[in-house]
């Protein structure tokens, strides 16, 4: 507890506060909350500052529990030491993620997306946890987390649990986070060797995405394996392009596979028309981006 302000300094203190006053708002970088929610209410809600809680912040490598040290098919087998996971604390900002050596080297698509979220001023404040909890269909980091098979860690008064990202984001601005719970971290499994990402927006910065595609895969003898392709802004939640993935699985790494996967992607999305773009454009852009990324990756 901060003696001067009485504000929580640990996750447990924060959880207690949320239990005592369920209307308490947990503030992170405030780039969503100050814009969307602050003005919507005339009262001053009780708040806690997640940025003041040290254990929520920072990037570290942690050992994989032996039970989980399964590797995707195609990875080099080394049964002795399970590779570490990368743990990114919920209040780590995109500005910090963008320049972190372990992210830049191991998960370049996460570093890339971090550098494309809003402007520098936004990146200096916006947190990864805030992007997840905000659960916007256009949240840029989300398809990347889906492609990288990320897990999220949640703290509740009953303890901590870990769930895959796709079990976290349930619907339009809807997540598995219960009342009084906090998102504490994102965990990334060992980096897949092939990764690619593209955000199609309008302006270079401060653009709300029209379509995003993130993909990650392994390869063996010139063929794709463990392919994960995720698309954002084409459905209420980021979605795996399972038909396109299926086309790639075991298929040669070449133009034909890329073209066929792009056609499969075209058929499996139902995007919407809105002020930012039309369904037709989104579907066309998505298919083009899938093809291009498969050729680049």
């Amino acid at each position: 507890m901060n003696p001067a302000s009485g504000l929580p300094r640990t996750v447990d203190e924060a959880l207690l506060r949320l239990q005592e006053r369920p209307d308490t708002v947990a503030l992170a970088g405030c780039t969503d909350w100050m814009v969307r929610d602050r003005l919507a209410r005339a009262d001053a809600p009780p708040v806690i500052d997640l940025l003041a809680i040290e254990e929520l912040h920072g990037i570290e490598e942690i050992a994989t529990p032996p039970s989980e040290a399964k590797r995707p098919a195609g990875a080099d087998a080394d049964p002795t030491t399970p590779p570490p996971l990368l743990r990114i604390g919920a209040t780590t900002t995109f500005g910090e993620i963008r320049v972190d050596r372990r992210v830049v080297e191991g998960y370049p698509i996460l570093a890339e997306v971090a550098s494309q979220i809003g402007s520098r001023q936004i990146q200096n404040r916006a947190t990864l946890g805030g992007n997840l909890v905000n659960a916007s269909p256009a949240g840029d980091s989300l398809p990347v987390l889906l492609a990288l098979a990320a897990e999220v860690e949640i703290a509740s008064p009953d303890g901590r649990r870990r769930i895959p990202y796709d079990a976290f984001h349930l619907g339009y601005r809807e997540t598995a986070l219960g009342p009084g719970e906090l998102l504490t971290a994102v965990l990334l499994p060992p980096p897949p060797p092939h990764q690619a990402f593209r955000k199609v927006g309008t302006r270079a910065a401060v653009a709300i995405s029209k379509v995003m595609v993130a993909m990650a895969a392994h390869s063996r003898q010139g063929r794709w394996s463990s392919m994960r392709i995720a698309a954002g802004s084409v459905a209420p939640v980021p979605m795996r392009l399972r038909a396109a993935e299926k086309v790639c699985e075991g298929a040669p790494i070449d133009v034909e596979t890329a073209t066929e996967a792009a056609e499969a992607a075209w058929g499996e999305v139902e995007p919407i028309d809105d002020v930012r773009s039309t369904a037709r454009y989104r579907r066309w852009a998505l298919s083009r981006v899938v093809r291009r990324l498969l050729l680049e990756m």
Binding site: S5, M34, G95, G118, A204, V206
Partner: protein
């Protein structure tokens, strides 16, 4: 609530609601009107200040998150010899016209020069992507920043920020 922070190198305190905007506190409590409200939504950059040495939008920073930190505004920059010279060169090179965007732009520029003493065209473009200027067309700003000889943030402004960060506060 009462918050204590370092404003332009000096320890200050301010009383307010936890969710009051730093922008309003700077303008109405401290009468520092350099940071301006353009959009109030994080899009224009007119309210840019440095929080613990990094550029942030003061329209999106609640007072509670300023406690124990350091804030630098354009007034603080101008009060140092280095900063004043930087602002003069910036103006001479045509980096400012109506001036509405200038306090934000020069702080984004100062932060950039701190990290990259000789920024490329691309680095300048990235650093300024969140600062909208309707007058200059950015060319003169680009030139002014790429020709800056060295970092422009005076050490009397910065160590306070670094010391605060090491406290973990």
């Amino acid at each position: 609530m009462k918050v204590h922070f370092i404003l332009n190198g000096k320890a200050v305190e301010a009383e307010g609601r936890p969710t009051d905007r730093l922008l309003d506190v700077l303008r109405h409590v401290f009468h520092l009107t350099g940071a301006k409200e353009g959009c109030g939504e994080g899009e224009c950059g007119a309210c840019t200040v440095l929080l613990d040495g990094r550029t942030v939008l003061s329209c999106l920073v609640p007072l509670i998150q300023v406690d124990g930190r350091s804030v630098i505004t354009v007034e603080g920059l101008a009060a140092t010899e280095k900063g004043h010279a930087y602002l003069e060169r910036f103006a001479l090179k045509g980096g400012t016209q109506c001036g509405a965007c200038t306090p934000g732009i020069v702080l984004s520029g100062a932060h950039l020069l701190q990290e990259h003493p000789h920024p490329s065209h691309r680095e300048v473009a990235h650093a300024l992507a969140g600062n909208i200027c309707r007058c200059t067309g950015y060319q003169a700003i680009q030139r002014a920043l790429s020709e800056e000889p060295e970092a422009v943030l005076d050490s009397t402004l910065l160590p306070a920020a670094d010391a605060e960060r090491e406290d973990g506060s």
